[in-house]
Symmetry: C2
Subunit: 94 residues, 2 copies
């Protein structure tokens, strides 16, 4: 299991949240996607952190990023980005 | 409930992990601390993301950061920091 951590700065937090709610099922329903958690900054209300658990990096890449699901997701939330998100994968330190 | 998200770049990942394992109980046992999850970067192996769920920002500040628990925690892991960590609080978008 890997954890995708995406740092997303937006121009319009309310618009972004509404778009996210509509687009979320396309992400959450992807094969290999175990959980989706979107969080909003308290100190920085236009900053969001998206946490997605995937079976593997390959599941994220092959089942989502290289498919129409990603095009639809990015098409929905992308217009609210203040800049390119930072997206990296992490594994648990046990 | 709030989620603390800390981005930590280190100079020595193995040393940092060992220090974290020893210091973790002092953090996890703090009143108002609900969960502690440390993750290590796949693309950036010297980057860690720490996720801590707190009852509130106040619990984090009053029960941890302003106590000897924090001094001990920072004393253990701080020597491995490549720079000041970025620490912010987030709430779930439901």
């Amino acid at each position: 299991m890997v954890l995708e951590v995406a740092l997303i700065d937006v121009t319009d937090a309310k618009g972004f949240e509404a778009a996210y709610r509509q687009a979320r099922p396309g992400l959450a329903g992807t094969e290999g996607c175990r959980s989706v958690r979107m969080t909003r900054g308290l100190e920085s209300p236009n900053r969001f952190v998206l946490l997605v658990e995937w079976d593997s990096v390959e599941a994220h890449e092959m089942n989502f990023r290289q498919t129409d699901r990603f095009a639809q997701w990015r098409g929905a939330i992308g217009p609210f980005f203040a800049g390119p998100p930072t997206v990296e994968h992490f594994t648990d330190v046990v």
